[in-house]
């Protein structure tokens, strides 16, 4: 594995993303909107239910879980482009004639979707935390975020969810030819994560640090499995004879 080669793929993809405004928009709009909308929702709930922010603290954490979901679904915007895009432009044949290996291609494509996706997630989470601090500081008397729970959510679970989302989208885009189809399948990811969220809200499972760490462990295992599936599915011959 030559990391320079993988990084070359990443920086080429970044250069393309920079020129494709639609990719930048789809990366940033959702996280930023959620980051702003959530604290507003909390203010509304508080005012309606007349409860204090102290009583609402579990709800803050539940909203933080949304950034884990977000981390898993944002890569749809990027990962579906990055392999399907190469297929559409028929760039894989000359690329595969270079010394670049399959592992380097998969790693490069994983990173080029992971890096902007996780940054976009953090952007949204930062907005959320800052707004939350502003609205709760007076009542709580201390700064709510960052805290250890947020660290577990954002520094452990979110990156793993993002890798998982990236690998899953790659799996889809190796098999299909149209970015939109890839995005539709990629969107299906949302469902299992949503189930975890609903179970959390319903109190069936607590959305605390321990649960999140267990959940992260599961994500990690699944992500590693999908990485190897991707490597085995990335058959040079099939890709060249089918898509060029």
């Amino acid at each position: 594995m030559d990391f320079e080669n993988a990084w070359n793929v990443v920086s080429k993809d970044f250069a393309i993303f920079k020129k494709k405004r639609s990719i930048i928009y789809s990366l940033t709009i959702l996280p930023a909107a959620i980051g702003i909308a959530f604290p507003i929702i909390l203010i509304l709930i508080k005012n309606l239910s007349q409860s204090s922010y102290v009583a609402l603290l579990p709800a803050f954490n539940a909203l933080l879980f949304w950034f884990i979901i977000l981390a898993a679904i944002i890569p749809v915007a990027v990962a579906s482009y990055s392999i399907v895009g190469e297929k559409l432009e028929k760039t894989l044949e000359p690329l595969l004639a270079t010394p670049l290996t399959d592992g380097e291609i998969i790693l490069g494509k994983t990173l080029s979707a992971f890096i902007p996706s996780i940054l976009a997630t953090y952007l949204g989470a930062a907005v959320f935390m800052i707004f939350s601090d502003i609205i709760t500081f007076q009542q709580l008397g201390y700064i709510l975020y960052p805290n250890w729970t947020a660290a577990a959510f954002l520094l452990v679970a979110a990156p793993l969810a993002c890798i998982f989302g990236t690998e899953f989208n790659m799996l889809v885009s190796i098999r299909v030819n149209d970015p939109r189809t890839a995005q539709n399948y990629g969107g299906a990811l949302y469902l299992p994560l949503l189930v975890v969220f609903i179970l959390g809200e319903a109190g069936t499972i607590p959305l605390d640090t321990k649960t999140i760490l267990i959940f992260s462990g599961i994500l990690l295992v699944v992500a590693i499995i999908i990485f190897y599936i991707n490597k085995s599915l990335f058959q040079r011959e099939e890709i060249i004879t089918k898509y060029t």
Binding site: E4, E89, P99
Partner: protein, 305 residues
């Protein structure tokens, strides 16, 4: 430099290339001719290690195709212009080339030098910062050729390099290929243009799933019908015909006021023939040489005549 023995490729039930045996030496420009679906692209893809072979062996230099360790060495030795150019349309011409250069560990300085050299040579330097998507077909084709050369490969596989080009752009590309030949690169050229093959190639192969013929364009055309010298005279009479028949018994045909004579070495035989005609009192108006064209040869083979 390129050696294939009984190289075969089957796709499910279709045999695309059947027992191809071929030897191409260093510095040779080899033209691969054949109708659509003849297996030209499939052959190039096998030799470039992009698809597996079903059976047979092939070597590039001293390395085996299909052996994973050797493939990395082979990839550094070869440059490929695929049938579809496959450029990144959102990236500039310069970025497209630079991206490929990095995979061969060429220093930044050297990449810049080579990109400038090739783009200038192909007349694209002024457009180096333009997105490849804005290029015309011909410009894209040239850019893709430059990309195949970025790591200075000894061996080039060019799959229909002048397809879709206007006559002038096609000539630029052909001149460029001749320049590469002068640099002693080995070139494997798939083409449908017989005149192109005749101009550029040291040898040509005609394939239709099986390899039907391989030789120099000259030998192929001569083997079909030999060489004929056509001599147009003011008037023809028996004395002249007999004088020529005496030199080339059974090789002379007469039509109107023309003599058509089968020769093997025109430069050696023509002066004697002309002398005999003049001695017999004939007055020569025109002397022409007629050979079959590569097209005649090609059609004969692919039609299986």
């Amino acid at each position: 430099m390129i050696d294939a023995e009984n190289l075969t490729k089957k796709f499910d039930k279709i045999t695309a290339v059947d027992n191809l045996t071929l030897h191409i030496s260093e510095g040779e420009v080899f033209g691969f001719l054949g109708p659509n679906g003849a297996g030209k692209t499939t052959t190039v893809r096998m030799l470039a290690g992009l698809i597996s072979k079903t059976s047979g062996t092939a070597r590039i230099g001293e390395y085996d195709i299909g052996n994973n360790k050797d493939m990395q060495k082979i990839r550094r030795m070869i440059g490929l212009l695929p049938e579809n150019v496959g450029l990144y349309e959102n990236l500039s011409a310069y970025q497209n080339l630079d991206y490929y250069g990095r995979f061969y560990k060429i220093s930044k300085e050297q990449r810049r030098e080579r990109i400038e050299y090739f783009l200038k040579m192909l007349g694209l330097w002024d457009q180096k910062d333009l997105s490849a998507g804005k290029f015309s077909k011909g410009m894209k084709q040239k850019l893709a050729i430059a990309r195949a050369l970025i790591h200075d490969p000894q061996i080039l596989f060019l799959d229909e390099p002048t397809a879709n080009l206007d006559p002038e752009a096609a000539k630029t590309v052909r001149d460029f290929i001749l320049e590469l030949k002068r640099e002693n690169r080995t070139i494997f050229l798939n083409t449908h243009l017989l005149s192109e093959a005749e101009k550029l190639c040291d040898r040509v192969g005609i394939i239709k799933t099986k390899l039907l013929a391989v030789d120099t364009p000259k030998n192929l055309t001569q083997s079909l019908s030999g060489i004929k010298t056509v001599i147009q005279l003011e008037t023809i009479n028996d004395k002249i015909i007999m004088a020529v028949e005496k030199l080339k018994p059974g090789e002379v045909e007469v039509s109107d006021n023309k003599l058509v004579i089968n020769v093997t070495d025109p430069e050696l035989e023509n002066p004697d023939i002309l002398k005999a005609i003049e001695t017999a009192g004939g007055r020569v108006q025109l002397v022409n040489e007629v050979t079959s064209t590569l097209e005649d040869v090609y059609l004969k083979y692919v039609r299986g005549e």
